[in-house]
């Protein structure tokens, strides 16, 4: 009987040791070569080996599921060092930082002025926050955001006579559950929710006289004749690290157009970012490389994170030319919006700095509309740097 536990113990340590080292031996070879040249001491060396073993541990994703199971057994909702929380409906939450919101308010005002001067419709879209969908955690972790920033900002936008789209209100009207709107294992919204955003944006801008390319047809996302709906199991950026059994997996949908598309993306210097003009490849790049990997699929849209991306739709020659300010919260909304627009310039202010001011460079373009997607991570940014 006693032999069983000893055999199991020895087998386990030698098994994982052998296969982990086997898969990581190239890294360790490189590390040994580098370390012998550099002035690193043995402590740094052992730390580096520890990192290599951790990153390349044999069947890491499967092994960490046991961590997930144990955490579930112990009833823990905390999955990180005190910043991430899971609520009673299984959604992950982030403990918000303190905002310095003045810069964002001022920049939004100057953007509003710019649009007014140039007679461009300016739409401010309030991205919904999961905490406002009635779970208990909101009062602990979102007090400033939900009670102060959002109402004050809304008041400012309406005072400027800008267009305002409260997506939360739309979703509540549709009586969707929080788990249908958001991923469990990630801070982002489900693809289906972002598609509702697209429909609402088009509706508002069409009221302002903007004509979208084949909008009626393209907005019919649930039409099986127009779109092929595929899904992957998705872990989010928390789940990928902390085990799928702990967080549970989400279904992550792709809507693949069945109709012909001709879209490509270029960077700030005008160089193409993809080698194909097919929507599936140029806009959802990387999504189909590894169907079994529990990756963080948000990055598959718009080559996130980039400060500047230009999307040209060669078929939508009569469509509008739109400037959007986004963070990762609306990557997919903009991706599908591009099917109906001639050109979309996507700016991510989180990547801006004083030298890297893309708005200054493009403000002379003739835009048909400007949209700012306001999510919590946008509030700590500046939009225009003027």
């Amino acid at each position: 009987m006693k032999k069983i536990i000893s055999t199991f113990f020895l087998f386990t340590i030698y098994f994982f040791s052998f296969f982990t080292l086997k898969s990581q031996c190239t890294n360790i070879d490189v590390l040994i070569k580098n370390t012998s040249k550099a002035n690193n001491n043995i402590k740094d060396f052992s730390k580096k080996i520890e990192e290599i073993l951790k990153d390349g541990f044999f069947h890491k994703n499967d092994v960490i599921n046991f961590y997930g199971l144990s955490e579930r057994f112990l009833g823990r909702r905390l999955s990180s060092d005190g910043n991430y929380y899971r609520d009673t409906s299984n959604l992950m939450h982030y403990d918000f930082p303190v905002y310095n919101i003045e810069k964002f308010y001022n920049d939004n005002d100057s953007l509003s002025n710019y649009c007014r001067k140039n007679n461009i419709p300016y739409l401010v879209l309030q991205v919904p926050e999961r905490a406002t969908f009635g779970d208990d955690l909101s009062k602990y972790f979102y007090p400033d955001y939900t009670t102060n920033y959002v109402p004050i900002f809304k008041e400012k936008v309406l005072k400027n006579n800008d267009l305002y789209l409260d997506v939360e209100r739309v979703l509540k009207e549709k009586k969707l559950k929080p788990t249908e709107i958001f991923f469990k294992s990630d801070g982002h919204m489900q693809t289906t929710t972002e598609l509702i955003e697209v429909q609402e944006i088009v509706k508002i801008l069409m009221n302002k006289g903007i004509k979208f390319y084949k909008s009626e047809e393209i907005l019919d996302f649930e039409n099986p004749n127009l779109y092929e709906k595929e899904y992957r199991r998705f872990l989010g950026n928390f789940g990928y690290q902390y085990g799928k059994l702990y967080l549970g997996t989400d279904k992550f949908y792709y809507y693949i157009p069945k109709f012909e598309t001709n879209i490509f993306r270029i960077n700030k210097d005008g160089f193409p970012l993809t080698d194909s003009n097919n929507f599936r490849i140029s806009m959802l790049n990387g999504a189909f490389n590894n169907k079994k990997n529990w990756q963080y699929f948000i990055i598959d849209f718009l080559n996130f994170p980039e400060p500047y991306v230009e999307i040209d739709n060669n078929f939508a020659v009569n469509g509008p030319n739109i400037l959007v300010f986004i963070d990762s919260m609306s990557m997919r909304a903009v991706t599908y919006l591009s099917l109906m627009c001639k050109k979309i310039i996507v700016l991510d202010p989180r990547q801006f700095n004083e030298e890297n001011n893309y708005f200054k460079k493009i403000k002379k373009n003739n835009f048909d509309a400007v949209i700012t997607f306001v999510g919590h991570s946008m509030l700590n940014t500046g939009l225009t740097y003027e």
Binding site: I4, I5, S17, L53, K54, I64, F66, L69, L74, R76
Partner: protein, 495 residues
């Protein structure tokens, strides 16, 4: 290199265990010495010269003391030099920098603060070295002429960084006569897995919450209920962290054929501070009893009171010896004033308990025995112990005396803090189950259940199967924690 790190579990240990069984028996001690020094170097390469100097000098100190045993004054002189060296080493590396900073701050001196870091495990290997030399001095054993044996005793990797502090006399016999059998190896594996699980699943998990509260600095924002929950959680964290390490050390020792001393025996079931310290960090307590308390007590009991000319009262000798011992235990853990207060805090309660015991004995002699019922004999002493240890460990955990006072005020609700905040429920719900599992594991419920099951028909088989299953699950889950979580060094690595 912590025992719970991947580099130890999947690189260092497989190599050591393989080589230990493959190489010739006469080379095994030398091999283990090299492995131990490599293990130490991985954790603190810069301090390798310090540990080597300590090994070499203490080897010669013991030899000289042994040679001079016929000449009492000479051997005493060498013993004093040995103590000055070892204690000096501790003071220099552990207390000098902080004391100079303290003097610079308080008295506005402009002394240069040395920038050396605390050598890993210095308190443990220095105490081992002193123990060896003092055993030779007290003629409990003779000095070992084999340098590698002494070096291995001081630097043996399972006990090097956080103990247990094994006596030379216990270790010496095992250097030549070690048991290598599957039973012993399996017991070692069991202890190692239990220790690993204690550290990773309980201690580190609770540690996230405890650190979250203690690192705030401003304790006025925490409610009374969270303050108490934090201190009780820290009791569990420290117990599982340190006893987990000790279990792993004992387990590794067994796998390599050594028997290391036990360091813990369910300390939280104690009903007095005296009993608690006989169950908590047992090897440190034993060390101090042998090498500090007893010699001081003996020396005092021989001395005469200057005023009266009579011998000093036995009770007074006892209290003074206790005070001296506790003035060492506290600062042994660290240089801050809070550690000294921690030591004196426990010393105060131990002396009170001694006085109460003496009072009870007196009453019994006089025929007026104090009578206790179940509550006053079993329940109240236990509650008293838990609260004393809780407050003691709160002082221990606080980074400074100011922090300890502030936290103490929060415990009492005197820090303008609420009794309960709305976010408290979140913390309770997050850690409640871990807390309960921690409490269950800290009382001897498993031995109790084992005894009950073993008495049943086929009980032994059922228990063995159940145990194997639990150990396998714990080992797999522990590996998943090492792969997933960030590195958390053992708390006692700091001492």
């Amino acid at each position: 290199m912590a025992f719970s790190s991947l580099i130890f579990l999947f690189l260092f240990f497989p190599i050591v265990i393989f080589c230990n069984y493959v190489i010739q028996q006469k080379l095994r001690n030398f091999f283990l010495l090299i492995a131990s020094l490599f293990f130490y170097a991985c954790g603190d390469l810069k301090s390798i010269p310090i540990i080597l100097t300590s090994i070499i000098l203490n080897y010669f100190f013991a030899l000289f003391i042994d040679k001079a045993k016929e000449k009492k004054n000479l051997s005493k002189f060498i013993m004093i030099i040995m103590l000055v060296f070892n204690v000096g080493l501790l003071i220099t590396y552990k207390y000098l920098a902080s004391n100079i900073s303290f003097l610079n701050n308080i008295l506005h001196f402009n002394l240069t603060v040395p920038k050396w870091s605390l050598p890993l495990g210095i308190s443990f290997f220095t105490f081992s070295a002193i123990s060896y030399c003092l055993d030779v001095y007290f003629q409990a054993c003779s000095a070992d002429k084999n340098f590698f044996n002494v070096a291995l005793y001081i630097s043996f990797f399972p006990k090097l960084i956080s103990g247990p502090i094994v006596k030379w006399t216990t270790f010496q016999t095992q250097l030549s006569e070690r048991k290598f059998d599957i039973n012993n190896f399996s017991k070692g594996v069991e202890r190692f897995i239990i220790g690993l699980a204690k550290k990773l699943i309980i201690a580190d998990s609770i540690g996230v919450f405890v650190d979250n509260v203690y690192n705030r600095g401003d304790f006025s924002s925490i409610s009374v209920s969270i303050a108490w929950f934090t201190t009780f959680s820290y009791m569990l964290q420290l117990y599982y962290d340190f006893s987990g390490y000790s279990d792993m050390a004992v387990g590794l020792g067994k796998m390599l054929g050594f028997e290391l001393d036990e360091n813990f025996n369910y300390p939280y079931v104690s009903k007095s501070v005296v009993e608690y310290w006989s169950r908590w960090h047992i090897t440190l307590g034993t060390w101090l009893k042998h090498y500090v308390y007893t010699p001081v007590f003996r020396a005092l009991s021989k001395k005469k009171n200057i005023r009266t000319g009579k011998k000093i009262n036995i009770k007074t000798c006892d209290y003074i010896s206790l005070l001296v011992s506790w003035c060492i235990i506290g600062p042994w853990h660290g240089a801050g004033l809070s550690y000294l207060i921690y030591g004196l805090f426990f010393c105060f309660f131990i002396i009170c308990e001694r006085i109460f015991e003496n009072y009870k004995k007196q009453r019994t002699k006089m025929g007026r025995e104090l009578k206790f019922n179940f509550i006053t004999k079993e329940i109240l002493p236990h509650i008293y112990l838990i609260f004393v240890v809780d407050i003691g460990l709160m002082i221990f955990r606080s980074v400074s005396t100011r922090y300890a006072i502030s936290f103490g005020l929060s415990l009492l609700g005197l820090n303008k803090n609420n009794f309960f905040n709305s976010s408290d429920m979140l913390y309770f719900s997050q850690y409640f189950r871990t807390f309960i599992v921690g409490i269950i594991g800290s009382i001897p419920i498993i031995p109790f259940v084992k005894n009950k099951i073993v008495k049943l028909n086929r009980g032994k088989l059922i228990f063995s199967l159940f145990k194997i299953l639990i150990l396998i699950v714990l080992f797999i889950v522990s590996i998943s924690y090492t792969v997933t979580t960030t590195y958390n060094p053992f708390i006692y690595f700091n001492f």
